[in-house]
């Protein structure tokens, strides 16, 4: 694969090999770590407080300890991350931030507080109705509460610092979007699993450091762009909640398909935010986070995800869509009936496949994806003839 020849990729891979190595080092060097699980967490605020924001995913292969504290019908992300914490794997976390996501994560926050009393826990009542005319004002007040809680621990978090963090994160997201753009426009230049590794590394690193590496990678990609000849492969779009395993996307690519776009919260959705203008930095954050591309756990009047995904898939010239459904993730499971209807109506193949966040691809996953790739490939040939 072309992507393995990219010199600047190895550094991202190294970060993901031992995901908690960098955060652990940072903590040892005296930088406080703010852990979280959800991309609605306003990392800028914590970065401005001098902390290292780290998104914790289920980097473990067991949930045994967690199983005593939360039912087996909780999603694997919740169980795996709780297990890591109980095992002491994330002891480097100074402050754990729970932005309201779903029923599971909201209760997990309390289970966490009761079992891991050494960590400070900050809960953020991020609005569910992100389009409510009262949401920005309310969310702004929640951010103010979080800032006061933070300041009690680390001292004053200056407004200019928050603005600076907003600028840095905006540059970082723009660079990530550039990377996704390379993937979309030049299939074969860089693989989806490689891009996923870059994204995962960004959750584990200080964004200034990640941005530098990312700019090098983008420069390298730009220099190869002219030389790359895009192979004509079936084009797939991938959607869902988190995708912690780059190998899942790797399996999709190994079937001879190319991933041209995604709506994953470890993918393009995580970097969909545009900077907003307001005099007050917290209001800027509130505006930005409430107007980003929504997660299925949110409500937005008039928004129909099936319509959005169909339109986006068509704009990406996708031949098929894979929905990676994390087992027991209600918000995404509830999207499937209307997705199925919409894609059947449009004649675009849609594959629903259940995944466990902390588990590598199963044989069943590989079989189902391979079968789907064949269907998509056939459909593509028919269209062409």
């Amino acid at each position: 694969m072309t992507s393995t020849q990219l010199d600047s990729l190895a550094r991202f891979e190294a970060v993901c090999t031992d995901p908690f190595d960098l955060p652990r080092q940072a903590a040892a060097e005296g930088r406080r770590v703010a852990g979280h699980m959800c991309t609605y967490t306003p990392e800028e605020l914590f970065y401005a407080a001098g902390m290292l924001p780290v998104r914790i995913l289920g980097w473990t292969d067991t949930t045994q300890r967690a199983d005593g504290l939360i039912q087996s019908y909780a999603c694997s992300l919740a169980r795996a991350v709780l297990d890591l914490a109980l095992e002491g794997q994330v002891d480097f976390v100074d402050t754990m931030v729970f932005s309201h996501t779903c029923d599971t994560i909201q209760n997990l926050a309390d289970i966490w507080r009761l079992n891991l009393p050494k960590m400070q826990v900050i809960t953020l009542a991020t609005p569910v109705d992100i389009g409510s005319p009262h949401a920005v004002r309310f969310y702004r007040s929640e951010l103010g509460r979080a800032r006061r809680q933070l300041e009690a621990r680390v001292g004053v978090v200056a407004g200019e610092k928050i603005d600076e963090a907003i600028e840095l994160y905006a540059r970082h997201r723009a660079a990530m979007r550039q990377l996704y753009d390379f993937r979309r426009r030049h299939p074969g230049l860089i693989g989806a699993s490689a891009v996923q590794t870059v994204a995962l590394a960004s959750f584990l690193m200080s964004k200034d450091a990640h941005l530098k590496m990312l700019e090098t990678l983008n420069t390298e990609l730009a220099s190869r762009r002219a030389k790359s000849t895009a192979p004509v492969l079936p084009r797939l779009f991938v959607a869902g909640a988190a995708c912690q395993q780059p190998d899942l996307l790797g399996v999709i690519e190994e079937t001879g398909c190319t991933v041209v776009g995604d709506d994953l919260c470890t993918g393009e959705r995580a970097f969909s935010m545009e900077p907003a203008e307001a005099a007050d930095p917290l209001e800027r954050l509130a505006l930005m986070y409430l107007s980003r591309r929504p997660c299925a756990s949110k409500h937005l009047a008039g928004y129909n995800y099936a319509k959005w995904l169909l339109k986006t898939a068509q704009e990406s010239a996708a031949d098929g869509v894979v929905l990676l459904l994390t087992k027991f993730c209600d918000p995404w499971a509830f999207e499937y009936p209307s997705l199925r209807e919409a894609f059947e109506g449009a004649g675009i193949p849609l594959l629903l496949v259940e995944v466990e966040q902390h588990m590598p691809p199963t044989a069943q996953f590989e079989t189902r994806v391979a079968a789907f790739a064949e269907i998509v490939g056939e459909a593509r040939k028919e269209h062409a003839s």
């Binding site: 039912q71 309201h100 909201q106 009542a125 409510s132 409500h299 027991f328 009936p337 199925r340």
Partner: protein, 406 residues
């Protein structure tokens, strides 16, 4: 004392009342009368004040469950792509929509939807799906989860949305709701929740005049008719009968020896079986967090009614964190002199269930109260392991008996 159970007379009234309610709503379909589908934790008083008929898909799903129709309906929803892992109420109702089947031949079509997420995030997704299906307005009330204390800003956020909701309802009906009408409706709601609360207090007497299985049956009007005269009349009758039973020493479980609490939704398709199982051990379920959820105190004399409603609806049990839930359970242990607590770990209700293991630990450690966690589901009997559940109940009751109390 006789070993015969004395039936609750008011049950007859309940059947008539609910039949009238569903029939009345059905009759309204296609007329000028507006119908709203609402979530069970929504401030329904706004609908009644606006002259809109509220319909409860959740209550309807429970009815389907109790009549053992839910599996067939769930399967119909699953065929359309609903995962078996999502709420069985939602699956039951979508099944009823797709097939038209239910004990009341389905629900009348809505003119609008009113969703309040104070009970779970599932209703957010459920109502989004309803909105796409029926293509009618969806009014949404976002109630932030209370991990600690409800902040002034949270109350204001909800209050502002209630104001918007009221205006939206007025626009839909084309009629304004006078402050007097709202006050009157809220007064009726306050009366009914107080009567319901007083009724739920009575099982504190020994023996208890009713079990939680009875309260699960008699819960329907307080959920769906809060804010009406009929609701007040009904609960006055129920309270009177229960007071009489207390005076006459009528025991819901003759020879009552053990008093238990219940957490989470009922197992609708196994009400009779579970009731019998506990009775056979002379155990009476006397208190349930689920039933108390609709006994929330409402101050109808408050100067700002919408602010009062915001407070009442924001702070329901299920919208509060585990420490608050633990406090509620511990108060229940004292008030009802409980020997143990049964927690229904409800596969369909993640919001209610996650944290129960922690609550069980807290009750055991802080109060020495034995806790039984039963893995089940409120409406999907396919995931119910009858023998296992019964064996666990029997073992739990043996433990309680061995403790040698009473």
């Amino acid at each position: 004392m006789s070993d015969e159970r004395v039936p609750i007379q008011t049950t007859q009234k309940l059947m008539r009342l609910m039949m009238e309610y569903y029939l009345g709503a059905k009759m309204a379909e296609g007329t000028e009368q507006k119908i709203a589908w609402v979530t069970s934790g929504a401030p329904v008083e706004l609908c009644y004040a606006a002259g809109i008929t509220p319909i409860y898909p959740e209550n309807h799903a429970a009815l389907c469950g109790a009549q053992k129709m839910s599996v067939e309906l769930c399967e119909a929803a699953e065929e359309r792509g609903f995962s078996r892992d999502v709420c069985s109420y939602a699956r039951t109702d979508f099944g009823a929509i797709y097939t038209g089947k239910s004990p009341v031949q389905g629900l009348p079509k809505p003119d609008l939807l009113l969703c309040c997420n104070n009970i779970c995030g599932t209703v957010t997704k459920w109502y989004q799906n309803l909105q796409r299906h029926f293509d009618v307005p969806l009014l949404f009330i976002d109630t932030p989860f209370i991990h600690d204390e409800p902040s002034r800003e949270m109350l204001e956020y909800v209050r502002a949305q209630l104001t918007d909701t009221l205006h939206a309802l007025e626009e839909i009906t084309g009629k304004t709701v006078s402050p007097e009408k709202l006050h009157e409706t809220l007064q009726l709601a306050a009366k009914a929740t107080r009567l319901w609360g007083d009724t739920l207090d009575l099982p504190a007497s020994k023996p208890s005049p009713m079990t939680s299985f009875d309260t699960f049956v008699h819960i329907a009007p307080i959920v769906v008719m809060r804010g009406t005269e009929k609701c007040v009349e009904y609960y006055q009758a129920l309270l009177d009968e229960m007071r009489q039973r207390v005076e006459q020493g009528i025991a819901a479980v003759p020879g009552e020896q053990f008093r238990l609490g219940w957490d989470n939704l009922p197992v609708w398709f196994k009400m009779a079986g579970l009731s019998k199982r506990f009775s056979s051990h002379k155990a009476c379920l006397v208190a349930a967090t689920y039933a108390s959820a609709w006994a929330m105190p409402i101050d109808a004399g408050a100067s700002n009614l919408l602010e009062e409603m915001a407070r009442a609806y924001l702070t329901v049990y299920i919208n509060c964190g585990l420490e608050e839930r633990s406090r509620t359970l511990q108060t229940m242990i004292d008030k009802y002199d409980l020997d143990g607590v049964v927690m229904h770990s409800d596969r369909s209700c993640k919001a209610y269930s996650f944290g129960q293991y922690e609550l069980a630990r807290m009750l055991r450690e802080q109060r020495g109260t034995p806790v039984l966690v039963l893995e089940a589901d409120m409406n999907d009997s396919r995931v119910y392991a009858e023998e296992q559940v019964n064996a666990r109940i029997d073992a739990f009751m043996e433990t309680l008996a061995a403790r040698g109390k009473r």
